[in-house]
Symmetry: C2
Subunit: 486 residues, 2 copies
């Protein structure tokens, strides 16, 4: 494992070109698949290289949610009113440093992108799952997967659910999505080479990326000539040195959501050609404490006994807020009427207590602090109000029916999963950007690029697969169009 940036090789170093293609796509997760398909749709000759023995990437490990909106067929069929302008406003509002051009393209292109995915055979059920959960439990096509209903966002943009999921049960949607895209690619004149790792990018004397130096398991090193190259090689969640350098929060205490391919190679290859990694400190970590939805009636306090987040936020936003507390410690507090049952999947039940005093003592909260927090919360909740954090009235219920229970949301206690969000700076067409402009012939998409998602607080489930497929597709199309004659 390393943070080494591979050397950029020169075409003059190439002893002999092996295979050649108009567009070489590196990586066969959702971004690479969409880039390859889009390039092939223009008539380009496409070669897709993948390090692993099979397609899928990290996409195959996720639930297969795709964040889309602005009036998709699933939204329309289920009576959800959405609007491109509201979707833009929402994403702008939740994003620390929004790239307005990309957000506009993503939202304006969302309905067409949905239809394109369907045209490839990706199924979406015309159904809405109204519950509060991490993903649709069945094959439902749509649910809320972000902070649209969370204050202040619900006041900044008209909320709409945008979490579309591939019609496959529960968390199997990502695996199904990749099975379908792989089958589709096998039906196209796209060549796929597995067990092929890119070692270096190769550029000509003008700095135009002209190919890749690979090692193939079947026959060793080779130089593959390309009109352009699309990097779609994943994030860096398994690269311990990059994690230490960029996102030390991901060093331990969580389960990496990734494959062994998520070692940052795509980002480092981009850097070799002058590409610039951005938002690299951005990481997604979460340990959802719902479902069951009634857990949202609880309050979350830090070790000082103070609230710090609207408890009805998207689970990733809540987790981000927990991790920002002293010692990354926080507790979910419920009373006898709000607790569902003493085991929830990802956050351990600590204990139940007959009095707040006992609970403060047991949790190590300074005496009186939690009592004050509860008194304030209960008084407001009784009026359907939460002046401090604006939790939605649906989840405001005085917690005054002892005994009280606490669940541990702390890092090292709750079951966190995580992945990285930072990646190469790219143009809206996926061109890898240096300080001075695009690297000719070089594109990036998916988890090795930075497009929409930037941090845990603003993340919505489905953004990674959404932006990976959307900007992967744009990158593939543009890469094919930019191939120089001759």
């Amino acid at each position: 494992m390393a943070t080494d940036i591979p050397d950029l090789m020169s075409t003059t170093d190439v002893p002999e070109w092996g295979d050649a293609a108009d567009v070489i796509v590196v990586g066969f997760g959702v971004a690479g698949a969409c880039a390859a398909i889009a390039a092939a749709e223009t008539g380009a000759d496409v070669l897709l290289v993948e390090r692993a023995t099979a397609s899928g990437g990290t996409t195959a490990l996720c639930a297969g949610q795709i964040y889309l909106g602005g009036g998709t067929p699933v939204q329309e069929a289920t009576g959800i009113i959405d609007d491109v302008a509201e979707m833009i406003r929402y994403i702008e509002a939740v994003t620390p440093e929004p790239d307005s051009e990309k957000i506009r393209l993503y939202c304006e292109g969302s309905v067409a992108h949905f239809s394109w995915l369907e045209s490839l055979g990706v199924p979406f059920e015309r159904s809405f799952y109204a519950g509060k959960a991490v993903y649709q439990p069945g094959t439902e096509g749509l649910m809320w997967t972000g902070n649209e209903l969370t204050w202040p966002f619900r006041e900044q943009a008209k909320p709409a659910p945008r979490g579309h999921k591939v019609a496959a049960p529960g968390e199997t949607g990502g695996a199904e999505l990749m099975r379908i895209l792989t089958k589709h690619i096998e039906s196209l004149p796209i060549r796929v080479q597995y067990e092929t790792t890119v070692r270096n990018l190769v550029a000509d004397e003008d700095g135009h990326v002209a190919g890749v130096h690979v090692r193939r398991l079947s026959d060793g090193p080779a130089f593959l000539r390309a009109g352009s190259v699309v990097l779609a090689a994943g994030g860096f969640v398994v690269n311990t040195e990059m994690i230490a350098a960029y996102t030390p929060r991901l060093a331990s205490g969580f389960m990496p959501l990734g494959t062994p391919g998520d070692d940052g190679l795509g980002i480092r290859l981009g850097q070799s050609a002058g590409g610039v990694p951005i938002h690299m400190e951005g990481a997604f970590m979460t340990a959802a404490f719902y479902p069951p939805p009634q857990m949202l009636n609880g309050i979350i306090v830090n070790e000082a006994g103070h609230r710090f987040v609207a408890e009805d936020s998207y689970h990733g936003r809540t987790a981000g807020a927990v991790l920002a507390q002293p010692n990354a410690r926080a507790y979910l507090i419920l009373d006898a009427e709000t607790t569902a049952w003493p085991e929830i999947p990802l956050a351990p039940f600590i204990d139940g207590w007959e009095s707040i005093d006992e609970m403060e003592l047991a949790l190590g909260i300074p005496p009186g602090n939690l009592a004050t927090t509860l008194d304030d919360y209960n008084a407001s909740a009784a009026k359907g109000d939460d002046p401090d954090f604006h939790k939605h009235p649906d989840w405001l219920k005085p917690l005054d029916a002892g005994p009280w229970a606490a669940f541990d949301l702390s890092l090292g206690k709750a079951s966190y999963v995580g992945f990285t969000l930072g990646g190469l700076r790219t143009s809206p067409d996926g061109e890898v950007l240096t300080a001075g402009g695009p690297v000719p012939g070089l594109y990036a998409a998916g988890a090795c690029a930075s497009n929409i998602a930037q941090d845990c607080s603003g993340y919505a489930s489905g953004t990674c697969v959404g932006e990976g497929s959307f900007f992967g597709r744009r990158a593939g199309r543009h890469a094919a169009a930019s191939v120089r004659v001759g």
Copy 2:
């Protein structure tokens, strides 16, 4: 992807040996890690080669449960009485074709193996989680993870919980286990080479495995000489051709619990030297419908409206029974007093009905069948009895308080995960066995070998990491001891 068996190369084909080691271990999941450590403990010079860029394998994706018993320190500290003979009886009873010698060694060696893991720095909390769940929600050291309390096993062996989990939150135990073992290996004089794929085994004129032909990303092909070779290279859940040939049930409709390295290469390398894959039809698939535990009060019926499994079985056993029903279809039925809330994580809520008639109609069950099933069940349950399936009295409650709810456990509806269980036939010391005896110098462990686990119905969580670490360790020790002088 292929079912190809690589060629077995001869030492006379080796132009030049590169690196050499007493023991070469192939694969850096839990089995390979334990094999390497055990070999190094004997003073052997060990080289550990791993295809991916990082350690972890599929172990890093699991919750880190380890099935151990017979009176471990965690069992003793938490007041659990267990006994080696009872553990043997239980595993013998749940296993279709038990390998009695391996089971005896595993059970007799279980306490010492636990202590060995602790000596490496793997932490286990002295605590018991009494709830019914898929894994301990917190860092608790022990819980029930098999069918020990399920009929007929509870009558065949005195039940004890044996699911030990690495002291890490929820499902992060496997990642934590591999972090600890990796750190330990880095402290030992074990050489690790990542991005190194074994292409062929190499044997001398006597058929003794004498090395491996690898491709390394850093410098291409090489021949590595070894006194013996331990294959610990994972299962085959991502190899679509092997899945089609051996376990077609895993072809679709589930999320593979595996990495891109689970392509069966370890098994196929073993076959090249005459090794024999066994129990290859064995696969684990599950979609747990608990927690919450009260869901176990329900009954599970097939599309004919008949029960077919004790609903309090371990979730994998239940899932295996569901998948064996016509069209792999089944429903969990509860009444108003037993339903927890209308969303459980892995099986979708279908609907609620005021009458059984309506429910039969909606589920497509022949009229009257479900009513009869419920009447029979309710009558017996009222007496604390279940003559048909011997569900434990703790979960017997008449389901007579309408409205009734149904959850869909069918394949294609519930959220299944799966992995393969078959692998190379090995001796208790991990020697790869042909029809005629061991292949000298060749060992296998972990998911590419067949040791304890054989099918879904008998599986207990923690068996794969348990047997992988236990027989991996034995294989490493024996491989080191068998290294020929000179």
